[in-house]
Amino acid sequence: MDKRIIAAGTAEAENRFRRVGKRVPKLDAWEKVSGRTQYIHDLKLPNMLHARILYSKYPHARIIHIDPSRAEKLPGVKAVITGYNTPEIRIGFLNDNPVLKKDKVRQYRDEVAAVAAVDPDVAAEALELIRVEYEELPAVFDPGEAMAEGAPLVHAKKGTNVLNLPWQFSAGDVEAARENSAFVVEETYRLTWVTHCCLGTAGCVADFHPNGNLTVYTPTQIRFLAQRDFMKVFDALGLRGKKVNVVQVKAGGAFGSKLDTYPYEYITILLSYYTGRPVKLVFTREEEFFATPGRQPAIIKIAQGCTAGGQLTFRDVKMILDNGAYTSWGATTPTVMVMPVSSLYKVPNIRYEATCVYTNNIYCTAMRGYGNPQITFAIESQIDTLAEMAGIDPLEFRLINANTPGEVTPQKFQVTSCGLKECLEAVRAGIGWDEKKGRGGGRGVGVAALLHVGGGARIYRSDGCGVILKMDDFGKVTVLTGATDMGQGSETVIAQIVAEELGVKVTDVTVVNSSTDTETWDVGAHASRTTFVAGNAALRAARQAKEKILAAAARILKHDAADLYLEGEQIRSFSQPGVRLELAKLLRQMHFAGGGQVVVADYFYDPPTEMLDRNMSGNLSAAYTYGAHGVEVEVDRETGQVKILNYVCAIDAGRAINPMLLEGQLEGGVAMGIGYALMEELKLSNGKVLNPNFLDYRLPTSLDVPKVQSVIVETDDSEGPFGAKGIGEPPAVAAAPAIANAVYDAVGVRLRELPMTPEKILAAIEDKS
């Protein structure tokens, strides 16, 4: 088996833990292999209606008139809504996106009308009966053209297509550093649209109750922020004092796609309000492709320099982001992109500027890495060029500049644990770097490093997670967590952490993330934060529960509490092995004795971090995750095909709470990264998605993804739960530059655009010769 754990900086014995560090199967896996798990597609409520949405036929047009009358008369249709017969609800963090468009459409996927009917087929038929009269307007699809004087304005009232989001960071003196550098490289990298391709399409069920309260069933990653968002509907409808309950449905994949709320959810809610019945809306695959915001494209102008000895001197980045017609989280990816710009390697002088521009293209949101895959492609591809100029092996070059524990970066990140050097050495060993580098003959090796937040990210005023822990009369534990499991296995990780602390079986811990009614607040499943933040919250609640239990045991046993501990569902004594009390028995005694007591604990953990200041500086995360990807490829000079022969993904995880699930994140993230590098592209022509299906948008299959060597580096982070850091996104971050560097090593061509298709590689080979 190609599985290794490198303990980098921990002296403790491997056997320190009994549940943490073990390959515990996911707690919900049996439900899933039995076909019992209920996804949104499977959810049925009594008397439920089905909704479909009518989208714009133009990328930019004035709506002259909408006539829903024929649709309304179709038997089985219960409501037809448009921007003209509903109150306006604007969403997106800049409030620029009306959920039903009125007066004007700004992209092909704009929601113009929606229908609720007795079944989905009737709803679809009704859409064809809605007549919309448009007057087409000049549109703009290129962000450069959108910035030019006289360009068509996507939002006329704003007077410009440039968003008022001046993302800027600087440290040191870039111009002086450039002057004093021995080598400087300046290039432009271009990244296009890709999308999440969740196997389960998006959808929700909205249920407005007779009392005016609202329940929304949704596979969201942010049920508490969604709860706040959905309350906009009450304001719009003039309802006072009502409540939203967001019910968490198991996600058939998420990867950032469910990190915001979207028009389809509000439309479903409105349809439920107007019909007084539960309404379900589920995207078709085609809608999933064109109506789910994808990963943010970017044009990245980047320059870096180094000394003759290979020490990085400066990094200068100027980016333009095509925001599309509306603002979701895609526009905020520069807040993450600045992180590797400022803090991947020791670079004293930094300048960073990102501009987001409205166009009539589709808009974008979060997708695994949140901008990091785009910027790391540019940084890490260019590092290889710089290393070559300096005459230094690219892996050595990275080691010269590698971050180290205890460092404070130019962006004021306080690096606590850092296993970057160990990750790079793991790539060297796993790839056979020293033997294989520069051998040519169509084969090549490449490496790329990465940095991501590993201890939450304070991008919202709270980065907290609430937890309530309770124990029943039989020693079983229920953990109500605000965190969301999207399939990555955070429920199991939380159960392991709690079981470790309470000395019970992992399977005796039930982790519940069901609804905003039930659990306490959490900011959401993003920023690779759940193990770290929700894990810390659960650990602290478990500690409180343990203290209550041991205090009660001390009274009953007439024994010093400090000499007692929990293990094997028992209270045991360190000094007297004969002293034992069954945990379940103790819990019942506590419960049923006079003045009864039950064990309940709660905790709200908000990591000790700072929001970025006006210069985008501050200690954003309580820990930072480093890693390195290494790859060996074979490039066919005749066809341009890239075959991956070997892949190493080494991540500094702090501590592997569950090595099996961690490997699953590494292997799955790498597969997504390989798709981004070599295959995937959402093709747009004048704002229209041309390939909204799995035949034309090729997702990696079992034949495209190689066996990945997962290397877990453990640096035992001081703030992490049992030393763990977040790792959800890093495996998807550095695949593209590692592969690009390997392609260069193999055939000597440098690709600065993704995906690196055979056609592009072949063209580059021909250009060179």
């Binding site: 390959r23 919900d28 076909g35 969740c198 196997l199 695959r285 699953g664």
Partner: protein, 173 residues
């Protein structure tokens, strides 16, 4: 709209249902019989999430018109869960981390089940080929391939090699 009556065997039981001309087998299974273990991922036969055993072959049920299922025998994840060979696959998927979001899992299990019936000791390449029509966005396929190979390595009639099976706990202090 003209409705037709069809009769088919699903998971060993006979069902008679009325179907419209455009209805697919997938819709019959999910909407009329309530067998939601079979998933709709694309409705165009490209993702494999709706794979069922159809007269002994793995078929994307979204491509089978309901009327073409008349008189046929269909097995889905719900019915196959009683089969010892399917159970071994399920155990290995669970114990070896082959499940993340789980949406592709039922179709993936059916594809793997058919492979092991025809090729009881497949190579890794054969496993990768057999599941190449089943898309997974979470796992990178590696643990799925390992699980299928591990299930194939178990002698008939024995329980899995792992002690971490259902309800198991590798570290029960």
């Amino acid at each position: 709209m003209m409705f037709h009556q069809i009769t088919l065997t699903v998971n060993g039981s006979l069902f008679t249902v009325m179907v419209a001309p455009g209805d697919t087998l997938l819709e019959v299974l999910r909407e009329k019989l309530g067998l939601t273990g079979t998933k709709k991922g694309c409705d165009t036969g490209d993702c494999g999430a709706c794979t069922v055993l159809f007269d002994g072959r793995p078929v994307p049920s979204c491509l089978v018109l309901a009327r073409a299922a008349h008189g046929k025998e269909v097995w889905t994840v719900e019915g196959l869960s009683g089969d010892p060979g399917f159970r071994r696959l399920q155990e290995n998927f669970v114990n070896r981390g082959a499940v993340q979001c789980g949406f592709c899992t039922p179709g993936m299990l059916v594809a793997a089940f058919v492979l092991l019936r025809t090729t009881p000791r497949p190579t890794e390449e054969e496993v990768r080929e057999a599941i190449s029509g089943n898309l997974c966005r979470c796992t990178g396929y590696q643990k799925i391939v390992e699980a299928v190979l591990a299930a194939a390595a178990i002698p008939e009639g024995s329980r899995g090699p792992d002690q971490l099976s259902e309800g198991g706990d590798p570290a029960n202090g």
